[in-house]
């Protein structure tokens, strides 16, 4: 791949990506979330999103020839196979049927002679031979006649890979976090089969967060960060700490957080014990955490490790268990209202889904929660029997926050849907601020917003904390952001707290914690 560039709506996500891959070579691709790994693979595989968002710059050369893939089918024809993170298998079909779906060897019969080849019958015997051959290529044993829904998850993964292998022209196989769902034992088998396939001349791009797997199976390692390839080295010349440093190490020597405050003698405001949360994709297994009064605590970690599950579980949006004691009182879980009554507030990472009433005015968005929970912005008519919406007070509070947070909008009656991502995020913050909480959860406050809005949002949070003395817990995938804003940082890995460090600690150390218990 040469000089690959890609931007989404002017937002440069890939810059000058260059690397080469030889036949039979295994390339390990790693980088933090958002480093550009998936985008790169989507370009390579000719996915529709790339074309729809304006294509890409640069060339992909295969055997010295320029290749242009406008659809995944072109990529398949050119011998590129991809195994995605999510399975795409038909549960009721057997492994053989799934492996050869829509590419089955067929026999003609009388009816198909008359009505055309769509009525050919399947050649079961040839199918079995071909799927057996594909499974042998992997070098593992799975039963070709077992239906997918009866298989353990590891075998499903192998079936996916066998499907790619059964394509005769396969030259390059992309595996996107194939071991993420596997047990250690299954992962070992997969790594063995990767070596096996490479020995047969298939080039493999292997994406994973488990760095030791890369070292054990890959010939070379490519590390990406912020859309750049930062390192391209043979795997035998490197080690896990070094890769971690490359992954997270932007401006390592610069900016440790400014004005960190030490709250270690402040009283504990919230104490979380044995918290579990069943949030799909972000499962929290067993979290113990103490939050001290007045601090900004950062929660970091890789995607899928459970950091998002913590606020969502405590605030009652997903099923949770364990004990949470806030301000000396235990908070009942699974009840958003009780949390809000206890003066907790939450800015969700899912702005559009949870955070906003997209089709209502900014006034409603900002005032609604405070109105419902605390009876603010209401006039009592008929001796309190009727609680009437006080439009004037609502407009005033909205105007206040529009000015304070520099929200760009045509008026306070504009619909939330019409605002840009950054301004929507500010509305979400204003909603939480209007509650005047004692404790604020902020989840991914800067996801998907531009740099200018980002610093404004972070400054607003910091100001809110320092001036109003509100305790803030901020969850973010971006380590640098946490280091700049927070006093302490807790790293979540494998649904547990891997460690809590002061924000002054180096990115490498925090990065090591991130991958320490990855499951």
């Amino acid at each position: 791949m040469k000089n690959i560039k890609k931007d989404f709506f002017g937002n440069q996500v890939l810059t000058d990506i260059n690397f080469t891959l030889n036949e039979g070579e295994v390339l390990g691709l790693c980088g933090e979330n958002g480093a550009g790994k998936s985008t790169l693979m989507k370009i390579l595989f000719g996915m529709d999103v790339i074309r729809e968002t304006g294509g890409y710059e640069g060339d992909i050369l295969i055997h010295g020839e320029k290749a242009v893939f406008s659809t995944p089918f072109d990529a398949l024809k050119a011998g590129i196979g991809m195994v995605h993170q999510e399975f795409s298998l038909i549960p009721g079909f057997t492994a053989t049927e799934n492996i050869l779906l829509n590419r089955e060897p067929r026999k003609t019969n009388v009816i198909s002679q008359v009505f055309g080849e769509r009525l050919n019958t399947l050649d079961r015997k040839a199918m079995k031979e071909r799927s057996d051959a594909a499974i042998d290529k992997m070098g593992v044993k799975i039963d070709p006649n077992m239906t997918i829904n009866e298989m353990p998850v590891g075998h499903k993964q192998f079936t996916e890979i066998a499907r790619e292998l059964s394509k005769d022209q396969l030259k390059l196989l992309i595996l996107d976090e194939p071991t993420a769902v596997l047990t250690e034992h299954e992962a070992e088998a997969l790594l063995a089969s990767i070596r096996n396939m490479a020995a047969q001349g298939i080039a493999i791009i292997f994406i994973t967060h488990r760095l030791h797997e890369i070292l054990s199976v890959c010939d070379k390692v490519v590390v990406m960060r912020d859309g750049y390839v930062v390192q391209d080295v043979p795997a035998k010349d490197t080690n896990v700490p070094e890769i971690t440093r490359w992954m997270v190490g932007r401006s390592v020597q610069s900016a440790a957080a400014t004005q960190i405050q030490d709250h270690s003698d402040a009283p504990i405001l919230m104490s979380i014990r044995h918290l579990w949360v069943d949030m799909p994709g972000e499962i929290v297994r067993d979290v113990d955490l103490d939050v001290r009064q007045g601090e900004i605590l950062g929660i970091g970690g890789l995607a899928g490790q459970g950091k998002l599950g913590i606020p969502n579980g405590i605030m009652g949006l997903y099923e949770a268990g364990g004990t949470v004691v806030f301000d000396g009182k235990e908070i009942p879980l699974n009840s958003p209202r009780k949390c809000l009554d206890a003066s907790l507030a939450f800015v969700s990472e899912d702005r559009r889904g949870v955070g906003l009433l997209l089709d209502e005015s900014l006034e409603w968005n900002i005032a609604f929660t405070a109105m419902q929970v605390q009876n603010k912005f209401l006039k009592n008519l008929l001796g309190g029997a009727v609680k009437w919406r006080d439009e004037k007070a609502i407009r005033a509070v909205t105007q206040k926050y529009i000015e304070a947070l520099q929200i760009k909008c045509t008026s306070s009656r504009q619909k939330a849907r019409e605002l840009s991502g950054g301004n929507q995020q500010k509305i979400c913050l204003a909603k939480a601020f209007a509650l005047e909480p004692k404790f604020l959860f902020v989840s991914e406050p800067t996801r998907g917003i531009d740099v200018g809005a980002k610093s404004l949002v972070l400054d607003a949070l910091k100001q809110f904390n320092r001036e109003s003395g509100v305790t803030v817990v901020m969850i973010s995938s971006e380590l640098e952001e946490l280091r700049q804003t927070c006093d302490r940082i807790a790293i979540i890995s494998g649904g547990k707290v891997a460690g809590i460090r002061p924000a002054t600690d180096s990115s490498e150390e925090l990065g090591m914690l991130m991958v320490s218990q990855v499951v």
């Binding site: 089709d359 929660t369 419902q372």
Partner: protein, 360 residues
């Protein structure tokens, strides 16, 4: 916004169409055309206007009954029959008690209320279990409840001779006149009748005032804390839940309100129409109401009082104007029913295929 809308938005007609809603525009134009054609078909203009206003006053409350459920995200109340049945129970029991006139009408509302709360509560619980498929299930709730009540009309021990079947003396009559009970009790209140001046214009002021009162109460309710919560539940249930709202309770309340308005709506309809129709008749009431509010510019998840007023006027205008005008012009028998069906079902179909925002 869909692509076709964007393309439309480039022309001036398109701007008008997207601001006012294309179907509403077409139907308004059609209605104006009918009014222009009416004198040529030999119909008296003032009579036509009177008819439209009268039918507006009969139906407006039934259309208003759509509003709460749309606000809470339960969609259009295709199960309006449930409310109508509560209303029928109210009116028959009130008649059975031997009341007449205004007392009979208001007693009917009073008796219908507990039934509406009971029916609406159960209906609400049901709808809370099938979120996302409310409108389909509502349709079947309507059908099955009407059939169930068909049996009940036969079995309930009504004894007032004017309302039970003539031969057997058992079971409710199919249709009976309300002449001696509460026909026109609202309509005659402050009635404006210009026929003594040679103009055939009659305005049932009382019925319209009664609707205005209910519409005002609805509007006021949507401005209270509870009403605001209901709208938020419809707009984004997850947001509402994260704000500590009990979504199910909000939705159930909206269904009860809708059912109660359906009950009151049928009583208003009866007093204007002058007859009470039992058995399968309620089946014909829900779709026109749904259709009317959609023509008024509401969508599956947004509806306002102005949608109700405009929609009822347009829909009823169409229904009353077409028979006189079209029949005299085409002379092929009763076209009005055909046009009514095409407009009402077509409107519902149109609205369901595109879940966009409603217009003001």
């Amino acid at each position: 916004m869909s692509k076709s809308q964007e393309r439309l938005g480039q022309t001036r007609f398109g701007q008008l169409a997207s601001a006012y809603g294309l179907p509403r525009l077409i139907i308004t134009a059609f209605l104006i055309l009918l009014f222009i054609l009416a004198p040529f078909s030999g119909a008296d203009f003032a009579t036509q206007i009177s008819n439209v206003i009268a039918r507006f006053s009969w139906n407006a409350v039934l259309v208003l009954a759509m509003v709460p459920m749309v606000h809470s995200g339960c969609g259009l109340n295709f199960g309006l029959q449930l409310g109508i049945l509560a209303g029928l129970l109210g009116s028959t029991l009130s008649i059975e008690l031997g009341l007449s006139g205004g007392a009979c009408f208001f007693m009917a509302i009073l008796i219908a209320t507990p039934f509406a709360i009971l029916f609406g509560g159960g209906y609400g619980l049901l709808l809370n279990r099938i979120k996302g498929g409310e409108m389909m299930v509502a349709t079947y709730v309507g059908f099955s409840s009407v059939s169930f009540m068909c049996m009940m009309w036969l079995f309930l021990p009504y004894s007032n001779p004017t309302i039970v079947m003539a031969y057997t003396g058992v079971g409710l009559k199919q249709t009976f006149s309300l002449e001696n009970f509460y026909a026109n009790v609202l309509a005659d209140f402050l009635k404006i009748d210009l026929s003594s001046f040679g103009i055939n214009l009659i305005i049932p002021t009382g019925s319209i005032l009664f609707f205005a009162l209910l519409a005002f109460l609805m509007w006021a309710f949507l401005h209270t804390k509870t009403g605001t919560a209901m709208t938020a539940v419809g707009s984004n249930p997850t947001f509402a839940r994260a704000s500590g709202i009990n979504i199910d309770r909000s939705r159930t309340l909206s269904v009860i309100l809708s059912t109660w308005l359906g009950a009151v709506g049928i009583l208003v309809y009866q007093q204007g129409f002058g007859f009470l129709q039992a058995y399968n008749a309620p089946l014909n009431m829900a779709l026109p109401a749904v259709s009317a509010i959609l023509i008024g510019g509401a969508s599956v998840n947004k509806a306002s009082i102005s949608n109700v007023i405009i929609g009822t006027f347009l829909f009823q205008g169409l229904v009353t104007m077409t028979p006189t005008v079209m029949n005299s012009m085409l002379n092929v028998g009763d076209m009005s029913e055909v046009i009514r069906v095409i407009v009402s079902q077509g409107m519902i179909l149109y609205a369901l295929t595109r879940k966009t925002e409603g217009s003001k």
